[in-house]
């Protein structure tokens, strides 16, 4: 095996394009991931056209809430780009300068103040179906946050108006003349009046009015809590059932490294074995010079070694942008080693089926690309039966197990790394056996 390994390293070293790819690929991917994660805008860039007159307010009882507060709440959810007119906003959306535009119309305060109509905003967006979906999701989320903030302002104003009704005072803004008595003050006053009344129908009427005033004061007090509940009926409290929460950025790193590991390893192993056939050397080797098992092991280990080095370099490169715990580097090595050997076994199984390098490369690419997508489909995104099929397919190929092993190694995510490593070892044996059967076709 030593001489075959030396020969393959010599050939690999003379394939300048391949060497350049092996060096540049991890560097490029590491930089791309790093920049994408460290410089990605956390908020969408949105053009905002505020057509409301300056100082416009929404009247809530005796209180007034400035419409500009709504705009500010919206600005805090997006990267706002203030533009003067709707036409400017449309132009910026068309040019791609902004993801979308939000137009706040001049009549929004009148509609909200009416108490019978909802205020309406116009959202302008562009792009293909995917971009539209993204924009709808991003803007919908931003508007929901802004609505929530504005709703809190209105609740606050409404609560102040209720307080005024309960305590009494100057209710001129509600159209009441002069200083009025508060609802809470009415029952004790009536009690005193009733105490001086002789029993009879008049006293009964006064007692009924007193009971109503007491009931009204108590319930109007409660209505402030009701307003709060109506404004945000459900609050979310999150509980994670399994494992540690994996930050999205480090999970993105794990996915990128796993994908690179798989592509490089499978392509190298499949291409390496197919090259022996393409050069017509396989028959010469297998007539007693090298055993089939040794040949397969040599190709798988060479591919695994190269892709392991590339993947580890990627992790090291990405760690310049994303905080990775180098204290877990031993686990990274384990996950990458088991993953790369399993991918190597898959690669030689593909190489054993193909007669030439191009066919092997195409087959490897066609087989591995869908595995990435299948492994990343979350439960609940598709129907239960289809998800079971996807899970079964993902289980019999090494990508998902390698991804889980690396996620566990880098992020401490569930399932445990041990289970994933055992899974990868099993798949290595299965694909190794398939490759061995594939080589029998020479007979």
């Amino acid at each position: 095996m030593r001489w075959m390994l030396r020969k393959d390293l010599l050939i690999l070293g003379r394939s300048r394009l391949l060497i350049a790819l092996l060096i540049l690929y991890p560097v490029a991917i590491a930089l791309l991931i790093g920049f994408a994660i460290s410089r990605s805008p956390s908020q969408p860039r949105v053009a905002i056209v505020d057509e409301t007159p300056p100082g416009e307010t929404v009247r809530v009882g005796s209180q007034r809430v400035s419409v500009s507060q709504y705009a500010e709440a919206l600005f805090s959810q997006v990267q706002p780009v203030k533009v003067p007119t709707r036409e400017d906003a449309v132009a910026r959306v068309k040019s791609g300068d902004v993801l979308a535009a939000v137009v706040i119309p001049p009549d929004i305060s009148a509609k909200i103040s009416s108490g019978t109509e909802q205020g309406e905003l116009e959202v302008i967006y562009n792009g293909n179906a995917l971009e539209q979906s993204l924009v709808q999701s991003e803007i919908g989320s931003a508007l929901a946050q802004a609505n929530l903030g504005f709703s809190a302002q209105i609740q606050h104003a409404a609560a102040q108006a209720i307080d005024l009704l309960l305590r009494g005072g100057d209710l001129g803004l509600l159209g009441a003349p002069g200083r009025l008595i508060g609802l809470r003050e009415i029952p004790p006053l009536l009690h005193r009046v009733i105490a001086n009344q002789r029993p009879g129908p008049e006293r009964v009427k006064l007692e009924r009015i007193s009971s109503f005033a007491e009931f009204a004061a108590q319930n109007l007090d409660v209505s402030k809590d009701v307003l709060s509940t109506v404004g945000q009926p459900i609050r979310v409290h999150s509980t994670l059932l399994r494992g540690r929460r994996t930050p999205l950025d480090t999970f993105a790193v794990v996915v990128a490294v796993s994908v690179s590991l798989m592509f490089l390893c499978v392509l190298l192993a499949a291409g390496g074995l197919a090259l022996e056939r393409e050069e017509h050397a396989l028959a010469r080797l297998l007539r007693g010079l090298v055993s089939r098992e040794a040949l397969l092991a040599e190709k798988a280990l060479l591919a695994a070694g190269c892709s392991f080095a590339v993947a580890f370099a990627m992790l090291a490169g990405v760690s310049a942008f994303v905080a990775l715990d180098w204290g877990r580097a031993g686990l990274w090595v384990l996950a990458l080693a088991f993953g790369s050997v399993a991918f190597g076994a898959l690669g030689v199984a593909i190489g054993a089926l193909a007669r030439e390098v191009r066919a092997a490369s195409l087959l490897a690419f066609l087989l591995t690309l869908p595995l990435v997508f299948l492994a990343l489909v979350p439960a609940g995104a598709v129907s239960g039966g289809f998800y079971d099929v996807i899970s079964a397919v993902s289980f019999v190929f090494p990508f998902k197990a390698a991804l889980q092993a690396l996620d566990a190694a880098v992020n401490g995510a569930a399932p445990s790394i041990g289970a994933s490593l055992v899974h990868l070892a099993g798949l290595t044996l299965v694909f190794g056996a398939l490759a061995r059967v594939g080589l029998r076709r020479l007979d």
Binding site: W3, K7, I11, A281, A283, R284, L285, L286, G288, L289
Partner: protein
């Protein structure tokens, strides 16, 4: 003199197709044996079984050289070479894989023997077809095998390259090496072989000298072996038809 190579009742089946039927012959040391016959006669299958890249359905191959681990040297029709390695690197790799105690010395010997010393450091992918075939034969010889099997050794070579290759092969036989080769080119067999085995439909239908095949085909000693072979096969076909 005991034969160096014995083919004993070899048959090969591919499903329903019987590619070789009970083929037996012996080859003595220093022999230069041509295996000829029409397309599909089983020439390549027979050579593949002799060199060990295929296993027979029945029968056996015996190499009577008294050395454990000896195998027939092989130069396949399509040169089995690594195009990104140099001539010397290809030779050295296979010398190591053959388990030779002094791989470097074997490489030097083969470079001298095949006249490839000047091309030793040149990558095989840049060699001419003739030189590639010489490297291909050199790889077959690197383990110093008692018998060398060549499958269509001159296919895809121009006349000058063919001439040089056959001079080289003749030199091997003169030095005592047994050479068995298959060829479509009957004229080459007539010029270079001292024995001709004719295969037809998986069976040996003739085994003798080129002169005796000429005689069987109704040609004199200076006649055309190809014409004689065609005539001989036609006679066989007629007698088969009569026997049915």
């Amino acid at each position: 003199m005991s034969p160096v190579l014995s083919v004993r009742a070899v048959s090969k089946r591919y499903g329903e197709l019987e590619a070789l039927k009970n083929v037996s012959f012996d080859v003595d040391a220093g022999g230069l044996v041509a295996i000829i016959g029409p397309n599909g006669a089983g020439k390549t299958t027979l050579l593949s079984i002799i060199v060990g890249t295929q296993t027979p359905s029945a029968g056996s191959i015996e190499l009577n050289v008294g050395e454990v681990g000896s195998r027939v040297g092989w130069a396949p029709q399509s040169p089995a070479l690594y195009s990104k390695l140099s001539v010397a690197e290809n030779l050295e790799l296979f010398a190591h894989l053959e388990g030779l105690p002094d791989a470097r010395a074997a490489v030097e010997r083969m470079l001298d023997q095949t006249g490839l010393r000047e091309r030793a450091s040149e990558r095989v992918g840049r060699l001419s077809g003739g030189n590639r075939q010489r490297v291909n034969v050199a790889l077959g010889l690197i383990g110093d095998p008692p018998v060398l099997a060549l499958d269509e050794p001159s296919a895809a070579l121009d006349p000058a390259q063919r001439d040089r290759l056959w001079s080289f092969i003749a030199g091997l036989a003169e030095a005592g090496r047994t050479v068995v080769f298959s060829t479509h080119n009957v004229a080459e067999a007539q010029r270079n072989a001292d024995r001709v085995i004719v295969l037809a439909e998986g069976e040996i239908v003739f085994d003798g000298t080129p002169s005796s095949l000429l005689a069987k085909g109704g040609e004199d000693d200076a006649g055309d072996l190809e014409r004689a072979l065609v005539s001989f096969l036609a006679q066989l076909s007629d007698s088969d038809a009569l026997s049915r």
